[in-house]
Amino acid sequence: MNLTLKIWRQKDSDAKGQMVDYKVTDISEHMSFLEMLDVLNEQLVNAGEEPVAFDHDCREGICGMCSLYINGEAHGPDRGITTCQLHMRMFNDGDTITIEPFRAAAFPVIKDLIVDRMAFERIQQAGGYISVNTSGNTQDANSLPISKHAADEAMDAAACIGCGACVATCKNSSAMLFVGAKVSQYALLPQGQVEAADRVKNMVAQMDLEGFGNCTNTGACEVECPKGISLDNIARMNRELMKANL
């Protein structure tokens, strides 16, 4: 296929950015979206131009590094996937594709399509952990049975890859799905209970500090989340917060 790409170029966080048009030819439908960008970049480098900077690493949908807002959708037009799992068979010959960085006040652009998601780090540092000594002798793992149901549910919440699509897609730039997933994982397991109240309070406080908006129950995050993290996690987080504030 032959495609026209409209890509956001921005030299660094201080520079003003703009959309630039590029053409790519001979794109196979079996390529992933990022491989298509590799083709463009090879073309740019061969012409002595700077390639388009975008974040990626695992290229199999698990590291959460890739981002991209493609034709107005976080991670592009397919469901339940990340950008690196998006394949060109989702597009047609002759298409024009718009590629922008995730846009949210809390995710400043670093360069071109790369944004800074450190706000997520700080939220987790505010309490997204169980305070167990890492150098001690912990009790035998089977001494605390956990129901299969709880473990499975905790696993579903823990599957969040921290990509930020939920934020990017939300009209309020809310990070509630991400934070809800984190809070839920620990809320569902017996280990984290003793500090549950502090955890949720601190994480939510940090989330607000970072400049993420509030949730107005639109549900766009759930739709775009590559890992199918459900809105139930937001509800659970709110319950946990209420409980903590009682």
Binding site: K11, S28, H30, S32, E35, D38, V39, E42, V45, N46, G48, E49, E50, P51, A53, D55, D57, C58, R59, E60, G61, I62, C63, G64, M65, Q85, H87, I110, K111, R117, M118, F120, E121, Q124, Q125, G128, Y129, I130, V132, T134, S135, T138, D140, A141, N142, P145, I146, S147, K148, A151, D152, A154, M155, A158, A159, I161, G162, Q185, L189, Q191
Partner: protein
């Protein structure tokens, strides 16, 4: 320098205990005065950083991603081994030790592997305490699955996302220490060299990948935990950024590089589909627990399939060649990775491959659907279920076990694996070689440690599944924190290490000169161009099957590519900004040297061993005729290479391996 592995004396089962009882300890008040640099925050570096901080040291941690949670460890799917014997099927520390030494083709160090087995159980306890949601059975206890090459069920897992969950566990432990100020985290920073003062590692030079600034960081000890070098093949299952730079730079500064040619080829990857491909995707090996591997038995069927004229479901049972079950009846589809990989290549080379490129075999779940479905029908009291009902019930179970893998496959190949068998092919996956370390995990440079996949220590020649995660966490949580203390005990009065010394000046200058070179070299070819060419030589001549003639040719070819690279590489942009091409250029430059040493090591090792088949070393007769032949008489050693300028000039040091507790036996999976 003579290699001293510093293996403690005493019976194998007591070595680690005796060692721990005797080492020097640093008192908590003094730990506050000691800085440790940890480069890499995957499972190995992340667990080490968290634990060292917990103990009281000041830790500076570095990673090139924006968060430790994105390290390559996140991608591990299958699981982690531990000798818990929760299943009561006869597992023990000794048995895990034995399986790992055997699976490593008797090329690993007994004492290290035994220690690994000893601490394995603790790893699970630690992770569960951190809230890692491992799979549970209905009674609420931990569940296990079995992995290729062993006969017990000792692999703990969290769906198909075990690496992710383990990494999130140690990442959360890190976050706790970052919040307390005990870990200073440097995201998007790349270590570009190590600094030695009076022969000891005392710091690193790193580049801030956002601003391009070159920084100096000092510490009393430096820990390298930067993962494996599988990307030397260009195409591999490794994350795109995985690289050898840190390991290679410390090699050039005096750390010996061990067994570079030991790489693991994984049998169950998604086959490649074209020239533009940037990486290969692994399908967890756990799939082999339930999937059966086959190709058509008749060459004309294979040809029809390749041409797209026949579907796998149209081939009758008797016309299928379940070649692993045929050749290795005792282990069947669960033979170790190298055996499964070579057997697949053998069938495909003989023309029986099942995709357009002829480089794929089937992994078929049809009989698992039936087996599980029948069981489920019984459990749910369904009388006389129809075949379709059975299949549906069975598919439900398979979906529960491997749903995300099936989904991933479908996204990539655009075929529904519940309806038609998956296609798989071997790919480069894991590197067992790496920086040489002694029992303390210290390299041949004092104060410079190396842990996780970046070191060579525990895997020998053919790591089994689910042991890399175990080694990374064992090193980080339970081994290094002890051994490094023994070394740092001498440093309690040293005080801060200054960074304004001539040693830092010199190394910083080397680093800057190199960057300047790339920016100013107005060549004509992209970095990827050279990386792809290197990868092709590596796969064709230094891949699964090797011979003397090709290996010699590979060394010459790699050198030639390297020379051309330094003349003609082009890196656009500048040094003082985020510059992805510049990052790649530095990494590929190192791969171009490592690749040659890799081939040299392979040439030296004239035996078939672990993941690779040396064509000159094959069983000539008997039951094992045609199978790989290991040569313990001449090659029961670790090859540790000393840097002497050009990779071809590297000098070989041998660490002779002693097997006192396990008898060296030729492997047989028949």
């Amino acid at each position: 320098m003579a290699l001293d592995s510093k293996i403690p004396k005493g019976p194998i089962k007591d070595k680690w205990t005796i060692y721990k009882d005797k080492i020097d300890l640093v008192n908590p008040a003094n730990k506050r005065n000691i800085d440790v640099i940890v480069v890499g925050t995957g499972l190995a570096g992340g667990s080490a950083a968290a634990t060292l901080a917990e103990l009281g040291y000041n830790v500076k941690a570095f990673a090139y991603q924006d968060s430790p949670r994105r390290a390559h460890s996140i991608a591990a799917q299958g699981g982690i081994n531990a000798a818990k014997n929760y299943m009561g099927d006869g597992d023990s520390n000794y048995r895990l030790f034995y399986d790992t030494v055997k699976g490593g083709d008797y090329r690993s160090r007994e004492a290290n592997v035994h220690r690994l087995a000893e601490v394995s159980g603790n790893i699970i306890d630690q992770c569960v305490a951190q809230g890692v949601p491992f799979a549970r059975d209905y009674g609420g206890l931990l569940d296990n699955r079995s992995f290729g090459g062993v006969l017990v069920s000792r692999t703990f897992y969290a769906k198909g996302q075990t690496g992710q969950q383990l990494l999130l566990g140690c990442y959360s432990a890190m976050n706790r220490q970052i919040a307390r100020g005990k870990i200073e985290m440097f995201n998007r920073h790349e270590m570009l060299d190590v600094v030695k003062v009076d022969g000891k590692a005392r710091g690193i030079i790193a580049r801030d990948l956002i601003t391009g600034e070159i920084e100096r960081h000092s510490a009393h000890a430096v820990v390298i935990a930067t993962g494996g070098y599988g990307n030397v093949y260009f195409l591999s299952t490794n994350a795109m950024g995985s690289n050898a730079t840190a390991a290679w730079k410390i090699h050039k500064k005096g750390a010996y590089f061990a067994n570079p040619c030991f790489t693991q080829i994984h049998p169950t990857c998604i086959p490649r589909s074209g020239d533009y491909q940037s990486k290969l995707t692994l399908m967890s090996e756990s799939l082999r627990n339930d999937g059966r591997i086959w190709v058509p038995a008749k060459i004309e069927d294979a040809k029809a399939i390749q041409a797209g004229k026949l579907k796998p479901t149209e081939i009758a049972e008797e016309n299928r060649d379940y070649y692993l079950e045929r050749r290795y009846p005792a282990f069947g589809n669960l033979v170790p990775r190298d055996v499964a990989s070579r057997a697949a290549k053998e069938r495909c080379d003989a023309g029986f491959g099942v995709n357009a490129t002829g480089e794929a075999v089937y992994l078929d779940f049809a009989s698992a659907f039936e087996r599980y479905g029948t069981e489920q029908a019984k459990i749910h009291g369904i009388k006389n279920p129809s075949k379709a009902e059975i299949i549906k019930l069975g598919q439900g179970i398979i979906e529960e076990k491997y749903g995300n893998l099936f989904q991933m496959y479908e996204k990539i190949i655009a075929e529904n694996p519940y309806e038609t068998p998956m296609m798989i092919y071997p790919a480069t996956h894991y590197t067992m070689g790496g920086v040489w370390v002694d029992y303390n995990l210290m390299t041949t440079v004092e104060g410079l440690y190396c842990i996780g996949e970046a070191n060579f220590s525990d895997h020998g020649a053919n790591r089994l599944g689910a042991s890399a995660l175990m080694q990374g966490l064992a090193d980080g949580y339970f081994v290094l924190p002890y051994t490094i203390g023994d070394y740092l005990a001498d440093d309690i009065r040293t005080g801060k290490i200054p960074t304004d010394s001539k040693e830092f000046d010199e190394v910083e200058k080397e680093v800057k000169d190199r960057i300047e070179f790339f920016i100013n070299n107005k060549g004509t070819k992209s970095v990827d161009h050279f990386h792809k060419r290197l990868g092709k030589v590596m796969w064709d001549k230094v891949g699964m099957s090797r011979n003397e003639k090709d290996l010699k040719a590979a060394m010459v070819e790699i050198k030639a590519i390297r020379e051309e690279f330094w003349k003609d590489v082009m890196v656009p942009g500048s040094a003082n900004e985020m510059n992805v091409e510049l990052e790649k250029a530095g990494r590929v430059a190192d791969f171009l040297e490592l690749g040659e040493l890799f081939a040299k090591d392979a040439l030296n090792r004239n035996e078939s061993c672990g993941g690779h088949f040396r064509e000159e070393s094959v069983e000539l007769d008997g039951e094992q005729k045609g199978e790989a032949k290991r040569n313990d008489k001449d090659f029961a050693y670790v090859s540790a290479w000393e840097y002497k300028g050009e990779p071809a000039d590297a000098v070989l040091h041998k660490e002779e391996l002693e097997f006192n507790d396990i008898e060296l036996k030729q492997r047989s999976y028949k």
